[in-house]
Symmetry: D3
Subunit: 285 residues, 6 copies
Amino acid sequence: MPPLLRLALPKGRMTEEVVKLLTASGLEVKSNGRAYRPLVSDSEIEAKFLKAQNIPRLLEIGAHDCGFTGHDWIEESGARVEEILDTGLDPVTLVAAAPERLVEGLERLGRPILVASEFERLTRRYMESRRQPYLFLRTFGATEVYPPEDADLILDLVATGMTLRENRLTVVAEILASSTRFVAARAALDDPWKAVKIEALRTVVQAVLEARRRVLIEMNVVADRLLSVVALLPAMKAPTIQELHGGGYAVKAAVPRAGLAATVLLLRKAGATDLLASALEKVFP
Amino acid sequence: MPPLLRLALPKGRMTEEVVKLLTASGLEVKSNGRAYRPLVSDSEIEAKFLKAQNIPRLLEIGAHDCGFTGHDWIEESGARVEEILDTGLDPVTLVAAAPERLVEGLERLGRPILVASEFERLTRRYMESRRQPYLFLRTFGATEVYPPEDADLILDLVATGMTLRENRLTVVAEILASSTRFVAARAALDDPWKAVKIEALRTVVQAVLEARRRVLIEMNVVADRLLSVVALLPAMKAPTIQELHGGGYAVKAAVPRAGLAATVLLLRKAGATDLLASALEKVFP
Amino acid sequence: MPPLLRLALPKGRMTEEVVKLLTASGLEVKSNGRAYRPLVSDSEIEAKFLKAQNIPRLLEIGAHDCGFTGHDWIEESGARVEEILDTGLDPVTLVAAAPERLVEGLERLGRPILVASEFERLTRRYMESRRQPYLFLRTFGATEVYPPEDADLILDLVATGMTLRENRLTVVAEILASSTRFVAARAALDDPWKAVKIEALRTVVQAVLEARRRVLIEMNVVADRLLSVVALLPAMKAPTIQELHGGGYAVKAAVPRAGLAATVLLLRKAGATDLLASALEKVFP
Amino acid sequence: MPPLLRLALPKGRMTEEVVKLLTASGLEVKSNGRAYRPLVSDSEIEAKFLKAQNIPRLLEIGAHDCGFTGHDWIEESGARVEEILDTGLDPVTLVAAAPERLVEGLERLGRPILVASEFERLTRRYMESRRQPYLFLRTFGATEVYPPEDADLILDLVATGMTLRENRLTVVAEILASSTRFVAARAALDDPWKAVKIEALRTVVQAVLEARRRVLIEMNVVADRLLSVVALLPAMKAPTIQELHGGGYAVKAAVPRAGLAATVLLLRKAGATDLLASALEKVFP
Amino acid sequence: MPPLLRLALPKGRMTEEVVKLLTASGLEVKSNGRAYRPLVSDSEIEAKFLKAQNIPRLLEIGAHDCGFTGHDWIEESGARVEEILDTGLDPVTLVAAAPERLVEGLERLGRPILVASEFERLTRRYMESRRQPYLFLRTFGATEVYPPEDADLILDLVATGMTLRENRLTVVAEILASSTRFVAARAALDDPWKAVKIEALRTVVQAVLEARRRVLIEMNVVADRLLSVVALLPAMKAPTIQELHGGGYAVKAAVPRAGLAATVLLLRKAGATDLLASALEKVFP
Amino acid sequence: MPPLLRLALPKGRMTEEVVKLLTASGLEVKSNGRAYRPLVSDSEIEAKFLKAQNIPRLLEIGAHDCGFTGHDWIEESGARVEEILDTGLDPVTLVAAAPERLVEGLERLGRPILVASEFERLTRRYMESRRQPYLFLRTFGATEVYPPEDADLILDLVATGMTLRENRLTVVAEILASSTRFVAARAALDDPWKAVKIEALRTVVQAVLEARRRVLIEMNVVADRLLSVVALLPAMKAPTIQELHGGGYAVKAAVPRAGLAATVLLLRKAGATDLLASALEKVFP
């Protein structure tokens, strides 16, 4: 039997972005009627969808070789695994939050605080730092609806803050910033074949993430404006400059998407003409 | 402020049947854009949708007065609450199951058994009775997809057994039979106003459940066949018999739905004519 | 060509309840791929779905003979048509509402109030009673999202008040209570064939509405408890009392659904046994 | 192994009505994730969903014992099976239709007519009766879109005629009236256990169909109006008449739904009071 | 508080194309559970979804700074706002249409024409030009279903003409050609910060629209075919020509998508080889 | 009337990929409420959706000029048409399969084999090669559910094999490999205008398919590593090499997607820097 890389994919909130990222990286992930065991386009890789919560632990015990999951669940699990790439996708913050009108009085309840969360370990660590008696209630999604009758305080993930606001909850403390991470089991990194396979996947995934942040711009410049145009191009990489048949230069550079409009307006003012922008698929730094 | 009965409704698998049951009992439960706090038609009742898992505990600590949840979660939680009616709805069995080809060898794995379940307490109780070293993995739904790589044994709920079969799992032990229960907090039963309110709800809910099992049949019988017709009617309640203007009798009884066709064929043979069957809405025993 | 009754049905919020009501009344209304001209089961009736807004006016000019629409749109249109039945369905109130923090200062804006509504006529009538300069903005649904930047005040329909609360709006005045009405064109009521047809439809629709409010209860009573049982039955109609073969009485009455549980508990205490409740389909008063 | 009745259910247009009919008859049919093998509530019956087209043939060769399918497919297949009940559900007519502007010229095309249909056998039989050369094209649904380029004439099922009209097709001939039939295999009728089982099912199904056509009305009448009231009740069954405690009569009859409003108006005029109408579930004639 | 550009986005038919256009322009618009106030990726811009009908007026009174809406509603409103870019998206024509069989007789009805439309101002302007008495009926969508009983003539938007044809309506006059426009409030254009912000957005949006019409083709040419190849390239921009290492030239040009296949076939015939076509993201002219 | 190319598009499994392919080729296909006659962006082409089964035959008799359909249905129909491009899309294999436990005993059934398939002609051809008596049952989709009671053997299309496995069927023989083909009617290829039009469509479609298999990579190389870098580039086409202003070379090549990660790693090791990968839209070989 040929060697296999066992890849754990998160089921839920993170699924869509991870599948898009892998597809862009050349690894197609297709459901085939069996939701949990998708078909993947690389016959040396076997993927399985699992709850993000369980992935750190299952990597630690060697049930899978690598996977994607949130930094939050890695911390919650306490599992010893290697985070080898922060994709920056699905950024969230774990916060402690309480009903607006209770925030002031939390320390004077006169009874143990009722704290609800999906994160037991992180909650206990936080509550111990507060040095206040508490009762812990494990939730299973939708933690924001527990207050006020079913919880005095919650530890919950926040993306835009809209859900907290709609439930009239106020942030009391920020506990942990999280996003989707590419994670490997230590045993897998010790296996030469798997380590190479994981590194190849990491390289392509990173190239895709880098390409999303950039756009390729091409322009023509007459000779005496070349220096002032090139001076405007972001410094990270030398732009590619070629002489044109008939005089002048073609200049090409992968510039950051952020601020593109401003960059273009400056380049035109400096003498660049025929400006074209194209999407990049992968950028290998 | 008038007194309020705080009713906890289960979010998930049990929701549909419980809402139908309450609606039939005269308590309409309508979502109003806010999934978790439905409008109910009785202004003395305030309902909230919560995970079935959390309901027993939240009743015990007094956050709600009564509710519907599964017997399984009551047992798992260990919460001291009163089951005041078994609705018989959504019947399931908690079983221990293992991959077909592993069943024989579970005791000779040569390493701790990896057991996955949503039910930690019930799993630990069961595993201790097996007297075998094990590692527990808490799951969050879809436990049946953990084996074989992510679990050797699971404790999972089974309704028809189809899901187990599709995942090639075999039942190793039946742990607990469960169904949806109407449950009350002890504190609520000690409050006279709440106790009466809960009992009224229990009475109507039970009358609806009873009505579902029965059908009202009416028929005409000439005088000399009355005895043989009445003899065929199930014994639990005396049928209602009235003389008809012009002779003969009208006989009416609420008979069980099960076996209705057979009952009707026998009644016709015994001399009943003009047989009509109608649905009942509530039967107060 | 045989005579036809042209029935206008409201497209939108009121559709579902009106179609259910007509179906229960024996007039099936089935879409057939053409959303606006449904098939109806009575070949003497031709139905068309129209915006509730347009129905009063189209009845007035004789384009249709009768229909269902809201009292709000009848008032808004000022059309001279006859409301012949208040179904009580889809009850709403037209209110004036303003952003919470603006309510106090509405009269000291120092500029004309910007008022947004789907109801131009009713808004102008209300604003003139306020004697304050205003600018009117006609909306087309979702009026509640106009404040604060696009309106200072709105006139909008309110069912549960939840939408206002979520948009942090406060009711400033209640303008009009509305519900779905069965309406007829005056010309149609002057045509004998149409008048009879409309009256027949009104009778059955009313019988269905009445049946929804009641439930048929049947019980057995021994002779000496008959009076005390009958005394408990709501007074509007004499209950039907029949002697049973073998002694005792069967008592039957159509009682209001509201308070059914309490009624049943009293009846049992008074001596009624074998209580059955069944749904009614139509009650002709 | 206990004996089993193998029931074939039609997949497609007829499914919904057949499942509703069986459920009303006390045989619940529930999908369980496996679309083609539903769970049924009678353990002596095994159901399978199959294309209506294949059911007649599969009954003939003994793969199933009984089933529901259209009369059209029974005729098309030429299979020797017994139609034991016409449910009247999903009534359709098989018609021959041609494009409006071609109808006149069909016989002067100067080339073979191109005829498209799902029904090969019935089409060939019809075309031979026309004595015109033709080319047959078997279609697989949506036959109405073949003309004009892909067919000159089609044989297709028509329910309301709307689809033909939208495709500007005109009916040239009506070939066959069809509806959903309860059908049995001859071999099954020769097996005593299966024959009894099939007959029981047929009896209950027929009782449900009969109950849908009727409504139970109850009314009170004073003694001297009894005759004129009873005279108005449809003649098929004697109404049930009982003396009331305190004088007068209670009259009850299962009358046809069609014309109910008119019947009620006449009964009231004749002296009936307290008229109630209730739905029936089954009527055993 | 930092300055904010208040952007009004059309809710409805135009939404999808406008959101796609903005996303391609680097301004992500994401719903966040609150349908009317989407999150946008530029913290200096605040967006709100509003009915296209209301946008011109709300820009005029200064409730928003710029937005997207149809030319039709700008004309209907009579609002004084600046159309600064015609995106060409969602092209429609406002037409007057009447039932096929009524077209001839519209002027001889012998009574006022009943005209229905969502566009009151444009309808009145048109009807006055016809110099015929009329009655105006404001519609709220689905105007095409009003004729024949509820309107003799309609003024409605037409995209493909299919809806008119299906309702057997004939175009009587074309009133106005419309498409989605980028519009600014005059007050905003007078504010220097806002004017710059709006111009930057206009520039990028226009670059995206231009890029959609073009494709970047690259090819190799041997020296003596260079002139004939270049002669075939559309004249608007000089192509970029570079010498290849080892002889020959690389030629690159952004050519129109329309007619691409024909262009390519000619280029190959003229001596171009290794032809590649790539999508462009933005073209700054 | 200008000439028209009549294009038949397959309705069903193949639809999505074919429409995407045509859109990418510059021929937009838009539904417009009429599912069967989409709007296409080339006014010289008229498209119609038809069942893939019927397309070969309808091309043969001249009802359409060209189209897309599966190789399987071309073979099944026996129609004389020209396959002018194998798109490779939707690859499937027609196999003969039997229930796992019946495979061995198929030749010893003691009665004719019951064979079910949508493909009558291919089934008969195969069964005759087996020289065994059989009964043929034409199916209409979902053939895999016929065994075991309704078929002993099926001929069915297989994509991943998952469906067979779930129904516990084993492949007995592979009959035909199929995929979506671009097909032309012979008569159309004999018409000069149509032949040119078809060839142009084939060229662009093929260029899109080729572009999907490749990715454009660009990199910079210093002079003395040029040869070793170029040597690594797949041989099919010479890469485009240009001198950079300031020394070194820019190298560009359209390399296969398959194995991209490995290629990139080797190129970097050989001295390539600033590697960018971009998608191609069309590659004209």
